[in-house]
Subunit: 84 residues, 4 copies
DNA sequence: ATTTTAGGAGTGCAAC
DNA sequence: GTTGCACTCCTAAAAT
């Protein structure tokens, strides 16, 4: 049983270490998410519309050509639907 | 026990009925979601950009004043960030 | 220009029809979601914990194999923490 | 107009700074998400089932009371279906 | 290539 | 009214 027990323990430890690494990283990630939430709170506190700031940030993530294309297609569809 | 048994059954039935009503409604909802998916497939099949059609539909959901306001604020922020 | 105008209109109509179909379906979907909300209100009104009812319904959605797997994972977790 | 111009610039800078802080934090967050992905790759490489490891980690996140509640709900579900 | 799956974003609801 | 929570949807990665 000692052999088996030893092997099982080694396996358990390896799994445990991996799990703990992931959990630590997830905690860091959560911390950063909290920071982001705080900044959005500040955005709102100083009078900006957080929802729109989110949209702007999403737009900034796109490359300029894609953004221009998207915007022009959107205009096209809006016109087609009488929303111009 | 018959009293308790009877009460428990009545309670179980009431719960079961509520659960089954919810499940039936959820199934209906899923069916409609599937239909929507199908229409988007058709949107794409005839050459439109489904993602942008989604955006247009979201815009149509807003009342015109809110939409105008949102669009103007978005422009404002874009200019503030040199994305004009 | 009449040709172009005609084509453009036909295209516009096709888009519009698709959009309207989607909007009608989304409205139906919203109606059903409202019905579900009502049933949950009733669930709560007669004394059940709506949150737990949600969990029960989620469990009922799972197939037996997944449920069995989930249970074995629970055991695994307990063993890993010396709670076996 | 210089006053107004100055104020506008100050406002713009404030928005820009907030946006840049958010973008930096989001980049950090993405970096950590990548690290997590790497650990899961290692989990798999040494022979564990990453999907089950995910479930275990999710279970470890729950507090004991929630876990106890979940278990009792499982029982409830089984009873409701005559599997008690 | 296709299909599934996880992660993330956005939306709406309820509780405080 | 605001904050947090739950659900839904969408996108991007992974596996087959």
């Amino acid at each position: 049983m000692s052999e088996i027990g030893h092997n099982a323990s080694a396996t358990d430890d390896r799994l445990r270490l991996l799990v703990e690494r992931i959990e630590r990283l997830e905690e860091e990630k959560r911390g950063i998410a909290d920071d982001i939430r705080d900044v959005y709170a500040e955005v709102k506190a100083v009078g900006y519309d957080a929802r729109i700031v989110r949209k702007v940030i999403a737009l900034r993530k796109m490359n300029p050509d894609d953004r221009a294309e998207m915007e022009s297609v959107l205009e096209l569809y809006k016109c087609a639907l009488g929303m111009g």
